[in-house]
């Protein structure tokens, strides 16, 4: 269970997150949707205590992130692809993280197998493709077998096989009773993967509802998303009805 309460964060004069409150419940996949720059990544950083909110707070299982006793065994996060040193092997990267939370070495080999990187474990991360880097990031998130997972754009750079794999993985993690929050700008992917959606725009909450309910508001989840966010997209190309840029 993740609880965000009145989260606000500004960077200089830019308001990234603005009084955001929502819950992420266990046992289902919750999609985190919003246009580019709507504050999804910032919200995840606030939940993980990487950035400090200007107001409000986030709790995981009733506690703030910094209060967790073994953070990686309670929360697994994928924030950005390539959040590892390019000169270090995949195995060394995971071994170092495992040591910090007293996770057994055998678990490193296990997660390397789960994400399909067993054969690349000795290679330096800097040589990885974006898809392999994502897999390494997911391996790190799974390392502590955590009950809560936060994944920011996990399908970025994955091939179709990888996208299907992560869809299955997320579903099975949720079925095991875990709390799964996954952001994506691929609405079709969220429509297939998620049970619940939290939609934000310009840092504010626009919807917190089931995928079925939101889809039913319009022709599709995608249409419903565009109607919801029409007033809050910061970066949108302009096309007229004939598809020409105006």
């Amino acid at each position: 269970m993740i609880e965000a309460r009145g989260l606000s964060k500004r960077y200089g004069s830019t308001v990234a997150v603005d009084g955001l409150s929502f819950d992420v419940r266990p046992g289902m996949v919750t999609g985190f949707l919003g246009p580019n720059g709507s504050g999804k990544s910032t919200t995840m950083r606030l939940i993980l205590g990487l950035d400090a909110p200007d107001a409000g707070q986030a709790r995981i299982g009733g506690r703030r992130y910094r209060e967790l006793r073994w953070p990686l065994r309670e929360v697994g996060a994928l924030l950005e692809a390539k959040a590892f040193h390019p000169g270090r092997s995949a195995r060394a990267h995971l071994t170092a993280l495992a040591a910090s939370n007293d996770i057994p070495r055998s678990r490193v080999e296990e997660v390397l197998g789960i994400v399909g990187l067993a054969d690349a474990a000795r290679r330096r991360g800097g040589k990885f493709s974006l898809g392999m880097a994502q897999r390494l990031g997911i391996a790190a998130a799974l390392l502590g077998d955590p009950g809560v997972l936060l994944l920011d754009e996990p399908v970025n750079g994955l091939d179709p096989e990888g996208i299907r794999w992560i869809r299955t993985l997320l579903g099975s993690l949720a079925a095991q009773g875990r709390t799964v929050l996954v952001s994506s700008h691929l609405i079709g992917e969220i429509a297939r993967t998620a049970d619940h959606v939290v939609v934000i725009g310009r840092g504010r909450l626009l919807a917190d509802t089931s995928v079925a309910e939101l889809s039913a508001r319009s022709a599709s989840l995608e249409e419903a998303f565009f109607e919801l966010t029409s007033g809050s997209a910061d970066y949108r190309g302009t096309l007229d009805s004939k598809g020409r840029t105006s």
Binding site: L68, R69, L72, K82, A83, F84, A92, T95, A96, G177
Partner: protein, 258 residues
């Protein structure tokens, strides 16, 4: 829930130190820098030894001249231990694993400091013996049993470690590799040239002067009397620099967004 029950207890310094040790040893650059440092210190000691003509000179200090070259390298390595995390994004993985940020920096300092001290002492002792052995016939080499010699060699290695820690602290404060290296090189080397021209008294407080003219000195030159710090005062000054940079770095690390 099928997740395994989270065991009792909480992450401690020893866990963080183990993570930092694995990180440090799993980068090739660590071993390259350390190897070049030792080789450079020994190479310069031999070169200086071979060309020695004055038996009355401070031969121990001469043999340790190469330590100064290594200071820059270990300082840069110290910077990279911190800034490498920022340039790669690894810092967010590190701080998500260990949210206690001062503990992270303390563990980095302990692990990196221990490695730098071990390598610094090794470089100092090997350079001392190699430099002594390279002296021309007729000039007796210094011995560790002579007054002040063991102190000079050991403090040379310690100075190496402390400059590395200053680099680590600067890395934590500045976070960007080129800027932190510029400040390190500026503070340790370039500034020294200017200050030496302007005023001799300030010169005594520069890290490179402390290592070269305080820590590793056995026989102070007559004109340096009263100008440079004594070996122990120099060591104290370097410790103070390392403590201040690491203290500020830790303070900022705990307060800034990652």
């Amino acid at each position: 829930m099928t997740t395994t029950a989270v065991s009792r207890g909480r992450y401690r310094f020893s866990h963080v130190a183990r993570m930092e040790w694995i990180k440090l040893r799993s980068l090739r650059s660590t071993w390259w820098v350390l190897a070049v440092t030792v080789a450079g210190a020994v190479g310069i000691a031999v070169a200086v030894g071979v060309n020695t003509k004055d038996a009355a000179a401070d031969l121990t200090n001469n043999a340790l001249a190469g330590i100064s070259l290594g200071l820059l390298l270990i300082g840069v390595l110290g910077v990279l231990v911190m800034t490498g995390e920022y340039s790669s994004g690894m810092i967010r993985a590190t701080l998500a694993a260990i949210p206690d940020r001062p503990l992270v920096l303390a563990a980095k300092a302990a692990v990196f400091g221990a490695v730098a001290l071990a390598v610094g002492e090794a470089a100092a002792f090997i350079a001392f013996f190699a430099g002594g052995a390279a002296l021309p016939g007729g000039i007796p080499g210094p011995a560790l049993g002579q007054p002040g010699v063991l102190r000079a060699v050991m403090l040379g290695g310690a100075g190496f470690c402390l400059v590395g820690l200053i680099g680590l602290g600067l890395g934590a404060i500045i976070r960007h590799t080129p800027a932190a290296i510029a400040v390190l090189v500026g503070g340790v080397y370039v500034l020294a040239q200017f200050v030496a021209v302007l005023t001799h008294s300030l010169m005594a407080y520069l890290p490179i002067a402390i290592v070269a003219n305080s820590l590793t000195v056995v026989k102070p030159m007559a004109e340096d009397q009263g100008v440079f710090l004594s070996p122990w005062a120099g060591l104290g000054m370097l410790c103070l620099y390392a403590a201040v940079t690491l203290g500020i770095g830790g303070w900022l690390l705990a307060r800034r967004d990652a």
